[in-house]
């Protein structure tokens, strides 16, 4: 076992700089029906301190397994994971003191009140009775639990319980907070509310690593995103960077009776700034790798061809497009256990 005193001075590795989480070559397999199922096939990650990092992928891609390894619940078959500079395998107790974890299931004690949950959590992390009470009051205020914190958790709505569970995860002021699908099952208003709280925590210096299979959550909340599929990180970067790797589309609706569109499309396809152009019903869809230059080129061609235009719009790629390009599937279709088995 890892003795506290021996660990305390040695666990931080100076060379880690400002990485709150650093993962290299993480592998994990589980026994399955037809032999072992590889859940993680060499996951690499680096999460900068003080950021919100999104871990995006379909069900069964390996998000939760990665999180469980990082939170000391599960041990990896091979590979290295440092959380807050501490090796997860060698010093799990030291990691536990530095992290908070809100699992998909939540984990609030259903038969206790919200306040009792918070107070016990603080004490289990070694906080003093006074500090626990003060911090509990602070979080009841911060996450707006005041109206129901004295009630038994079993009677809470989904959104109320989620907020309590997030409060439980940050009770001891962790350096790194792990959230597994934090907004699963929440209505839009509660999601927006929780996003706001998470941004506030980030601003106060907490590093947040969250898994999600909601694209807008990854896009709007995270400063960087890793897309995981079949136990491997297939793309990593800021949402903007990832989207810029893929072409945008210019959608043109010509004026009725604008005349011959065939030659316009042929001309567009010849343009070096255009990747593809085709007619779809009454609209022309033009694929442009560089949206700015491409849009200008499209207008030039329209003017040269004398084609009157009713409407032009630019559709930039979404994270779903990124996912589709990287994995060959749409994120929305790629759920379920088949995602693990398809290799």
């Amino acid at each position: 076992m890892t003795g506290g005193a021996a660990v305390r001075t040695t666990h931080r590795t100076e060379s880690e700089g400002d990485a709150a989480v650093r993962v290299t070559g993480l592998r994990k397999s589980f026994p399955g029906k037809g032999g072992r199922v590889e859940a993680l096939r060499g996951v690499d990650l680096r999460v900068a301190a003080g950021r919100i990092y999104g871990f995006l992928g379909p069900n069964g891609a390996g998000k939760t397994t990665t999180l469980r390894i990082l939170t000391t619940l599960l041990s990896a078959d091979s590979g290295e994971a440092l959380v807050a500079g501490v090796d997860v395998r060698r010093h799990p107790a030291a990691v536990r003191r530095r992290i908070g974890y809100v699992s998909q299931l939540g984990g609030a004690d259903r038969e206790a009140t919200g306040r009792e949950n918070l107070l016990l959590q603080g004490r289990l992390y070694g906080m003093s009775s006074t500090d626990t009470k003060r911090r509990g009051g602070e979080l009841i205020e911060l996450l707006d639990l005041g109206g129901f914190s004295h009630r038994i958790v079993r009677s809470y709505s989904g959104g109320q319980r989620r907020r309590l569970e997030v409060a439980l995860g940050i009770m001891h002021r962790p350096e790194v907070l792990f959230l597994d699908e934090p907004t699963l099952g929440l209505d839009p208003q509660n999601r927006a509310h929780l996003w706001e709280q998470l941004r506030g925590l980030r601003d106060a210096g907490t590093t947040i690593l969250l898994t999600t299979h909601y694209l807008d959550e990854a896009d709007q909340l995270s400063e960087r995103v890793a897309i995981i599929d079949n136990g491997q990180v297939v793309a990593e970067g800021t949402p903007e960077e990832l989207k810029q790797r893929y072409p945008a589309e210019v959608i043109i609706t010509p004026r009725p009776g604008a005349g011959e569109l065939g030659s316009l499309i042929a001309n567009l396809e010849r343009d070096p700034l255009v990747a593809a152009a085709h007619l779809e019903g009454t609209t022309i869809r033009v694929t442009v790798p560089d949206p700015t230059a491409g849009l200008a080129a499209v207008f030039d061609r329209l003017r040269a061809g004398g084609v009157g235009v009713q409407r032009v719009s630019l559709q930039e790629p979404s994270l779903d497009d990124v996912f589709l390009h990287e994995t060959g599937r749409s994120l929305r279709d790629a759920g379920g256990p088949s995602a693990v088995e398809a290799a």
Binding site: G100, S103, G106, G107, A108, E111, L120, L124, G126
Partner: protein
């Protein structure tokens, strides 16, 4: 120090949970009292016969009922553990730095208390009906049965974490319940039965606890049977607590 504090905090949480479900407190008490009221009278004609040396049937019957209570108070732990696997409570607690042993003992301490309080009440109720209490013996008897409760509680929790399904747990525990209780002679001493039945009893750890309990109730404290009863029950409790702690260390919903 922090280990003791954690155990105290986790036991308190469990006790609060029990107090909020007063129906269980009531049920825990009603079963032994019903046995005393509706089953013990059947035994009065056996007074003075084989297996009932001192004539007072309750002196033989009450220790067995206490063993049944200990079994019942402990074996419920697995159900709670499975509910907590399903709601993520165990994962949350496992991510805290709390001692895994404290996580196990929180439930064990609660179960011991929910055994001991009604046990004392049952002893008091039995007194006017002819239970001759030897006070030191009764005190040791409650301690012995508390050890049995601890063994059942930790064992049931470990089974719950391992099996993960309420259905499987219920099948295993009800499957164990009858052989364990019948082969320990909780209702009637096994010494009334044929040799093969007593032989089977010797393979049952609970048998030694019940045999020792009857001697303690009779005031025979310094016997080999009593020592053996304490030895076997304490070993079972330690083994179950070790198993449960190991299961908590690895628990996964």
């Amino acid at each position: 120090m922090s280990f003791l504090l954690q155990t105290a905090l986790l036991s308190r949480r469990r006790l609060l949970e029990t107090l909020r479900q007063p129906i269980w407190v009531f049920m825990g008490l009603s079963v032994p009292l019903l046995y005393l009221a509706l089953f013990a009278p059947l035994l009065t004609s056996l007074a003075g016969g084989p297996g009932f040396p001192r004539g007072g049937v309750l002196d033989v019957f009450v220790p067995g009922i206490l063993a049944l209570m200990a079994f019942g108070a402990g074996m419920g732990a697995g159900w709670i553990v499975i509910a907590e696997l399903d709601t993520g409570v165990i994962e949350r607690l496992r991510v805290t730095p709390a001692s895994r042993l404290a996580l196990v003992l929180g439930t064990v301490v609660r179960d011991v208390i929910t055994f001991a309080v009604p046990a004392v009440i049952v002893v008091c109720v039995a007194l006017p009906f002819g239970f001759h209490a030897h006070w030191a013996g009764v005190a040791l008897l409650v301690v012995l049965m508390a050890l049995l409760t601890a063994a059942c509680s930790a064992g049931s929790a470990a089974l719950g974490i391992t099996l993960k399904q309420i259905g499987s747990l219920a099948a295993v525990i009800t499957g164990l319940q009858l052989p364990l209780t019948l082969l320990s002679g909780v209702l009637l001493p096994l010494s009334l039965g044929p040799g093969w039945l007593q032989g089977l009893g010797h393979a049952n750890p609970m048998y030694y606890a019940v045999e020792a309990a009857r001697q303690l109730a009779a005031g025979r404290l310094a016997t080999g049977t009593v020592a053996l009863g304490f030895g076997v029950t304490a070993a079972a409790a330690l083994l179950a607590i070790w198993w449960s702690t190991r299961a908590y260390r690895r628990a996964m919903a």
